[in-house]
Amino acid sequence: MATPSLGSLELSVLLAVVRLGDDAHGLAIRRDVSARTQHDYSVGAVYTTLQRLEEKKLLSSFTTEPLPVRGGRSRRQFTITATGNGALREAQRVAASVWAGIGKPILPELA
């Protein structure tokens, strides 16, 4: 089966889910992605991405018990699937391949 390709926000969100582990819920994911990309993503943008990743079977989710701090609403916890892990490995391989051989000339410019 072909590994689904990932957009940049999809990749950031998927990596945030892996990084956060058991604490991977919407709010924590949005904070992690926003801090690392230095871009303030809206709640809607992150949730739409999470939903799309779930539809692609790269993530799975479950809801917690309702919490008073959320006005009686549940939290949605996300975990990465085997397909999601495969997509991350593929994204890493492609990125390494694309960057191969161009490190030295441009790295000082980026620093």
Binding site: G26, L27, S42, G44, A45, Y47, S61, R70, R73, R76
Partner: protein, 209 residues
């Protein structure tokens, strides 16, 4: 816990059927609002909440449209026809009452007749806004699950039908009338829906503090 602005929360709830997606978003907004209200003050937190609500609204509406199934579409068609029928009856009765009263007083009023015959676009345009408001309110009242989404959908259907019918049957309608009529329809139905949502008590999940 400091609760987010209730009216805005209700409006957002009215945009999408109850789902994990909707509850996840609204829960996150409520949680972050409470945190911001404590650290930055309630006024700043409210400003943040309004900004986020504007950004989240299209996502909720789009998620709802994507989730529509045949049964849901059938229900919406009933809502649209039901509200259309209600408003037509209401407007006809009101029109007859106003005309009757004015004619009894000896005043000749022909603007209603002219506007309904389509001879005078500006008059009929002036009538679009309140009628759209009524349509939006009725559509939202008839739909307890997604009141605001139904009102917006009604506006979109009505606006599209108006454009198609006007372009098909009338050659002399100015462009400003089409654009103005469509905008008023969409704004009016949305405002009507929001008005209804503001008054309604359909949410059981929201804290009433």
């Amino acid at each position: 816990m400091i609760a987010p602005p209730l009216t805005v929360e209700r409006v957002l709830e009215g945009l999408s059927a109850k789902s994990d997606f909707r509850d996840g978003i609204l829960g996150d907004l409520a949680e972050e609002f409470a945190e911001r209200a404590e650290s930055e003050g309630e006024a700043a937190a409210k400003r943040w909440y309004y900004r986020e609500a504007v950004g989240v609204a299209p996502h909720l509406f789009y998620a709802w449209v994507r989730s529509l199934r045949f049964r849901e579409v059938r229900r919406l068609v009933n809502v649209i026809f039901g509200s259309y029928f209600l408003v037509v009856v209401l407007v006809t009765v009101l029109q007859a009452m106003i005309r009757g009263t004015l004619e009894t007083l000896g005043v000749t009023v022909d603007y209603l007749a002219r506007s309904s015959s389509g001879d005078s676009p500006s008059y009929s345009l002036a009538l679009v806004a309140p009628i759209a408001l009524m349509y939006g309110y009725c559509a939202a009242s008839l739909d307890k699950k997604t009141p605001l989404a139904s009102a917006i959908l009604f506006g979109i259907v009505w606006a599209l039908l108006s454009i198609v019918l006007t372009l098909t049957f009338s050659t002399s309608v100015p462009m400003w009338y089409l654009i103005g009529g469509t905008s008023l329809t969409l704004v009016g139905t949305t405002a009507g829906g929001m008005l209804q949502v503001r008054n309604a008590r359909f949410s059981s999940a929201v804290s009433s503090e």
